[in-house]
Symmetry: C2
Subunit: 438 residues, 2 copies
Amino acid sequence: MGKKIGIGLLGLGTVGTGVAKILQTPDKRHPLVRDIELVGVAVKNLERPREISIPTSILCQDPNLVIDNPAVDVVVEVIGGIEPARTLIMRAIRAGKSVVTANKAVIARHGEEIASAASKAGVYVLIEAAVGGGIPIIEPLKQSLGGNRIKKVTGIINGTTNYILSKMAKEKVPYKEVLEEAQKLGYAEADPAADVEGLDAADKIAILSGLAFGGSVERTNIPTHGINKLKSIDVDYANQLGYRVKLLAVAECLEKKENETNSLPLAVWVQPTLLPKEHPLAGVNGVNNAILVEGDPIGQVMFYGPGAGAGPTASAVVADILNIAGINFLGEKSGCLDPLLAASSWRMCHLASPNEIIQKHYLRVKTLDTPGVIGKIGTAFGEHDVSIQSIVQFDASQSGAEIVVITQEVNGEQMSKTLKEIQALKEVIGIEAQIGCL
Amino acid sequence: MGKKIGIGLLGLGTVGTGVAKILQTPDKRHPLVRDIELVGVAVKNLERPREISIPTSILCQDPNLVIDNPAVDVVVEVIGGIEPARTLIMRAIRAGKSVVTANKAVIARHGEEIASAASKAGVYVLIEAAVGGGIPIIEPLKQSLGGNRIKKVTGIINGTTNYILSKMAKEKVPYKEVLEEAQKLGYAEADPAADVEGLDAADKIAILSGLAFGGSVERTNIPTHGINKLKSIDVDYANQLGYRVKLLAVAECLEKKENETNSLPLAVWVQPTLLPKEHPLAGVNGVNNAILVEGDPIGQVMFYGPGAGAGPTASAVVADILNIAGINFLGEKSGCLDPLLAASSWRMCHLASPNEIIQKHYLRVKTLDTPGVIGKIGTAFGEHDVSIQSIVQFDASQSGAEIVVITQEVNGEQMSKTLKEIQALKEVIGIEAQIGCL
């Protein structure tokens, strides 16, 4: 009961430093922070000057030494990347130590292997910091919303792209220009691929989906479209039509078809999406994140806050450590885990085929400026039973016209058939943009 | 390990019915819901027709019988009101049973007595449903944000008044008219005092303050102003100046003065307040609630969702039951409690004097329409070191002019001295409105 919890920290970058700072200054924080003690820290370079002071006696360069240190009860992995993080997490679990990690890439790709090892070893692997920075979102999905049938999780969960999109919308600046500025400000990495191509958001929605629906899906098969091909003209047209463009990551449970296997079909995807201006996520700007959860009987709840940064991420890491420290008060380990906190999977899930995904679409079609072209396009939609919400002609000139169509909800199959037919119209020069729409 | 948890439900109104519905239909909810069993239900009237079917064998009219039933592990109190709820909660605690309650009035007034009894008996009293309906806000303050030094909690935590204010702003309808409509729609009670006078919000901010800062304040001394005296003209002027008017409930930790006692001074209050349109809470409309929490190092996080209603509130009640069920998996009770979940107080707090509260003010001053009046008012502010953010004259006519002043941040003492001086000016007919401003 209530002995001090020894923390072994793997990595002392911005997040690791943030965690150490909190643990070193427990005053005015939850009193349980005083029961948490940093007893080992693995760093790449012992000589590097640091903004916090760590006793040299607990610093070392070999993370394995930290993991194996008998004074370490909980291993905090904030190195990032797939390897050696994955191997170190597995080693900690085998050593019977609970793990706290901010590593979305490892959890999204090797979550099942890690969870299964943790369950066998009777330890926790907690990941509040892996999604949404400081926003408490993992905990609500695991615990506070447990009485609900979750229907849909919709997130703006990549701060870099949200910063770029906010700027494109507000200042009408092209994508490349905003990206360069974001890189200068440190909001985007020198190699921005993981952010702008949607891969980071896909990692995160894979994790949220697993918690919301109780079973994992194949991370690599999540349909993922980033913002790197988005044109500012579409952000502008969307604006004029009353929409904001956001990079959304969505996980939604589809109605089961009869006679199907006992696995739950999920529509999980990442793509730039038009949101009506009054949608709760439409006002989320800059590097902020927000996650909207829909369930029965709760309706809609939204969690909003800083999606990244040393302080917020460290706050989430410490939340997980506190949870383990709190349970530690209940006495000697009985080999059992709190099933809410452990959050093992409890249902089979699978990715629905893209053809089953039902949504609205925004299309920008370049056409010759000839009379009747809107009629022909409208007819093509009608022939495939696709209802149209609006069809607007922008910017007619000698070089042609731009027609923007927003459809009603259609499935993927209807949509691709319709697109083929439109493409074949002799008045149509090309389909220049296709974006999702809520 | 993992035996079924027996629930005794006191009250089968809308929230109680919502809870029973969730427990009766565990399919697709967290698998732990299957481990929770309704074993006793106390109702006022056994004969009343109900939308759910409860076995008559577990229905009774005497809540004491439910509490004393040995099959009942957790008592869920959803009767509401102070008595007999308080007595029943205390009886359950003495019987060694954990309690889940949605009763903000009892917790705000008798929280300390209840917490102290619970701590002695080694049981939990969980209250997620008492504030913000289905929004997980109690749990984050108790657990997920525990690594932070919380600075301020700002909430829109009364759905009825937020509905009225949203309507007043959008449709420019006077308060009384909107209230009557809200009563017809069931959004406001026949006796609306608890909502429109701010008492319900004061109960809730007292609870949030206690969790955020680790110590309670005297509920009855919280400065509380409702919306019942708010004029639609001020909502309209605020709008024109770029603000929304919301009924805010705030708890903020003030800097400690040197040589003071070891108690933390808190500014806790409820009042109609102007919010700049870009403030995260400004877009919260209708019966929704939202709570903004500021802390170090997290920055700002916001929790948004349905603040009332059977489904959302039942979701929060079940979240608490699940937490108890999860911990139950850890084996026989050792007499110890998880200190995060138990959330006993850990710091002395007290209400700061209103004179210490620093904020901006919105004032509407009725004056004679004579030249120089703005200058004289401006001078009065300057003499008391009150900086002005804006001063605007609205609606000059024969009957006089209306001058709206928004000050910079000032303390209560400066403000009341300034108001006296302004009132004494011969050009001033009266100070018609004084509202807080963020």
